[in-house]
Symmetry: C2
Subunit: 182 residues, 2 copies
């Protein structure tokens, strides 16, 4: 149950609508957590039923009406509890369907595998390129968040870049070894 904790996390910054939350996810954590808006609305309902968030209906004349969610004391408590609970395994023991494909690629030709790895390396490169907007975002919202909080944002972005770089290096070395077989 992690999307709900992400929602609580964003709500510690300020009250938000489901729509706002979807945008926040998209502009800051999307490279390691993609959130469907339908899922966000679902989770907001659950969080409200559990008393972790409160909802206020806001009438608007210029735009459609909306529901503003704010985190409650119980929600804050739950959020901090989640932050403190260990869980490094999550990043380690995770499923990787791509590696499953690599594992069984002995069933296809080196040429086909090279093509797959090539595509992988290119995608990883494109991913890094897609992250280029993050520093701007960090600077933009960082002033509002404060330098301490934005430092952690920076950390996650660094992780993403290191990971992608590692992927590219790994794929290139696999390709080299396969090319020796041609």
């Amino acid at each position: 149950m992690s999307l709900s904790h992400g929602i609580l996390g964003f709500l510690t910054y300020s009250g938000m609508t489901g729509y706002d939350l979807a945008k926040s996810f998209d502009s800051s954590v999307s490279f390691f957590w993609h959130a469907q808006n339908s899922h966000i609305y679902l989770e907001l309902g659950k969080l409200e039923r559990r008393g972790f968030v409160a909802c206020e209906r806001i009438q608007q004349t210029d735009k459609p009406n909306k529901k503003l969610y704010t985190i409650t004391d119980a929600g804050r408590e739950e959020f901090l509890r989640w932050l403190a609970e260990g869980g490094a395994e999550e990043a380690l023991g995770g499923k990787n369907a791509f590696l499953m494909r690599v594992f069984f690629s002995g069933n296809v030709s080196p040429e086909q595998s090279i093509a797959m790895l090539r595509r992988f390396a290119d995608d990883a490169g494109a991913y890094v390129a897609g992250m280029s907007g993050i520093p701007q975002n960090i600077e933009k919202y960082g002033a509002y968040l404060g330098s301490y909080k934005s430092l952690y944002w920076q950390f996650t972005a660094d992780f993403g870049r290191s990971y992608m770089a590692m992927c590219v290096e790994w794929a290139e070395s696999c390709i080299k070894r396969l090319e020796e077989l041609l």
Copy 2:
């Protein structure tokens, strides 16, 4: 639907029981894909209903009776189709609950974050240590699989090691930056 394709992959090597498959997953792909035995049995049933595997009941006197599953032509076709379909995004856009925690760690003290990152680095180190048996396994089963197929096994193990090394390096550098704040 990826466990089912993993099952099909193992069945291209030889006919197996659900029990055998659980052991195979555990001894070769567990560091990037953990499979529950209950789940394996469930998927075998589905695969049989779809005609991708065939089942033969085998009576044994020395051990409990068992069900031997073999891949069908349709299964082989589906397996190759899956291998060919792209999907590099799977390794890239995946969810990472640990990074979610890092992202929001601006809500706790540097000391607490350092402790979390320390644990993460240690866990990553332990993970690499836990992979030490893999080269032996590759050598052991590699002779049976052939050098071409075991090369890909090697690739996945290399990925695991590189990833863990990257994690350790990243965590150490985060810790250093946090220690400057103390």
